[in-house]
């Protein structure tokens, strides 16, 4: 028995802090309309087209990249937690499922239960 929620994915801790919100899996620009304020942006990688999503996101999780990647640099600019280089995040996380992103530890955990 443990109080710790299960770790769903891990990656490079790239922008410090913790935030929770529903995971929003984004495959391309064509998905952007689904993004809502407070969502956790989950994607493979980001480029300039993705920057506006950071304004809405509670946190960011990308499958590729490291501390120096675009997603990491932009997340730090917006002061939102980021975990990058989180392999298989797109398959390990379910769209809409509440998750907690720890950008200091580099973990994404289930956020079911108390907020």
């Amino acid at each position: 028995m443990t109080d710790r929620p299960p770790v769903l994915v891990t990656g490079v801790p790239s922008s410090p802090g913790q935030a929770r919100g529903p995971a929003r899996l984004m495959r391309s620009v064509d998905d952007f309309a689904r993004m809502r304020p407070g969502d956790v942006l989950v994607c493979r990688t980001t480029d300039p087209a993705w920057t506006p999503l950071f304004r809405l996101a509670a946190a960011v999780v990308t499958e590729t990249g490291g501390l120096l990647s675009h997603a990491a640099i932009v997340a730090r600019e917006y002061r939102i937690p980021a975990v990058v280089g989180a392999a298989h995040a797109m398959s390990q996380l379910d769209d809409g499922t509440p998750v907690c992103v720890d950008g200091t530890l580099g973990t994404v955990t289930a956020a079911n239960g108390t907020p």
Partner: protein, 198 residues
């Protein structure tokens, strides 16, 4: 004589480089006429190449996947027609190690300034960014010798760097044409032009 890209390609490419921008900003990217740009954007929207969307109180254009593919095809055709593929490939190869220095400098700056409300611009980051500007210039010159649309990166980077001494938001800020934004845009431009992945 450098090749001048056709206006409709510049409009599409501006949307890719800016990522998300209103009509005025798309036109301004390559100094195009705003009304003509609006027409080209509406045409591109009809083809499904660009979409108009609203995010967080902003409304702008962004490139749809179909537009991204169409743009890449057009850029490939242009690159081969002008005979610039070897030059752009070589510049990209030389850009990559400089890009590592740049992203390292931006990251060090951010990590070093995260706990301070108004971080001072240190001589260290200024020195690094000044060096990057110096390395950027000859790379840009070689690109512009073939394709005029590559012009302006060094000027914008140097301008942002000059502003940074008064306001450090010009180093990595996303709301201004900061050093990082200019740098990242050039990287995206090279990637788009060569049709490669990051």
């Amino acid at each position: 004589m450098p090749h001048a890209s056709p206006t409709d390609l510049l409009v599409l490419h501006a949307v890719r480089l800016k990522g998300f921008a209103d009509t005025d900003a798309v036109a301004a990217r390559f100094g195009l006429d705003v009304e003509q740009t609006r027409e080209d954007l509406l045409d591109a929207q009809a083809y499904g190449w660009v979409t108009r969307a609203s995010f967080a109180g902003l409304t702008g254009w962004s490139l749809a996947e179909a537009g991204r593919r169409h743009g890449e095809t057009r850029l490939q055709e242009e690159l081969d027609r002008v005979g610039a593929r070897d030059t752009v490939t070589a510049v990209h190869e030389e850009f990559l190690p400089v890009n590592s220095q740049a992203t390292q400098a931006f990251t060090s700056w951010q990590l070093g300034s995260m706990n301070t409300a108004t971080p001072p611009v240190t001589g260290d980051v200024f020195g690094q960014l000044t060096q990057l500007a110096a390395q950027l210039r000859p790379l840009e010159d070689r690109l512009v010798a073939h394709l005029a649309r590559f012009g302006g990166y060094h000027r914008r980077f140097a301008w942002a760097l000059a502003q940074a001494s008064d306001d450090p938001v010009w180093i990595t800020g996303t709301e201004v044409d900061s050093c990082h934004r200019v740098w990242f845009e050039l990287h995206e431009d090279l990637i788009a032009t060569l049709n490669i992945t990051r």
